[in-house]
């Protein structure tokens, strides 16, 4: 069964606005990762947050992790048309690197 589960969102925002998406999971994790997918093909790793971290930044990306609520959020600031994609969270468990993916969020950034 999949551990990561995003709220089933389809976001449509204007370029320059911020986009926020959420993810929840059910079991203990080693880390949580966010991936982007364009055009239904290859996934690109965006950011990884470990279970003992609460917040992490990478460029325009900010991810938070609340292990007490088993949830994470991904914020994309100052969105661009090129950010249009599907975004997936995925978790790994201790001693097992297999990714358990959520259902994904589709984000459309309107120029």
């Amino acid at each position: 069964s999949q551990q990561g589960e995003e709220d089933p969102q389809a976001l449509s925002i204007q370029e320059g606005e911020n986009a926020t998406m959420n993810c929840s999971y059910k079991t203990s994790i080693n880390n949580l990762q966010w991936y982007r997918q364009n055009s239904g093909r290859g996934l690109v790793h965006l950011i990884l947050i470990r279970s003992n971290e609460r917040e992490k930044h990478s460029g325009r990306l900010r991810v938070t992790l609340d292990t007490s609520k088993k949830s994470s959020s991904l914020l994309i600031t100052a969105s661009r048309a090129a950010d249009t994609a599907s975004y997936f969270c995925a978790t790994t468990r201790l001693r097992n690197n297999r990714l358990a993916f959520g259902k994904g969020n589709q984000v459309v950034v309107i120029p």
Partner: protein, 115 residues
């Protein structure tokens, strides 16, 4: 450097035929993973190879599915007697072994269509 490559990019086959999908991981990556993505099931883990350890096959949906990894590098996923429900995009990924380097690098996928 070169990323993960997969071949073929698209495969159309008839129900009941066998298919082989190939994955070339990033050089030096000791871990290799297969996933598949379909509309109904989302992204599912299939199998995981790590060095010389026995592979984690717990995600394979049936005994028609098998995979091998030769020489610790190239991997082949084989689906025997394909069924229409096997239609999906099959994604391969590789990663470095040592934690916390759990970032996985994905290939472009093979889109399998079973008629």
């Amino acid at each position: 450097g070169a990323g993960v490559s997969q071949s073929p990019s698209n495969k159309v086959t008839e129900k009941g035929k066998d298919v082989e999908l190939r994955c070339d991981p990033i050089s030096g990556h000791t871990a290799l993973y297969w996933y598949r993505q379909s509309l109904g099931q989302g992204l599912e883990f299939l199998i995981y190879f790590q060095g010389n350890s026995a592979p984690d096959k717990s995600g394979l949906p049936s005994d028609r599915f098998s995979a091998e990894r030769t020489g610790g590098s190239v991997s082949t996923l084989t689906i025997q007697r394909t069924q229409q429900e096997d239609s999906a995009v099959y994604l391969c990924a590789s990663s470095r072994r040592d934690p916390p380097y759990n970032e996985q690098f994905f290939g472009p996928g093979t889109r399998l269509t079973v008629l």
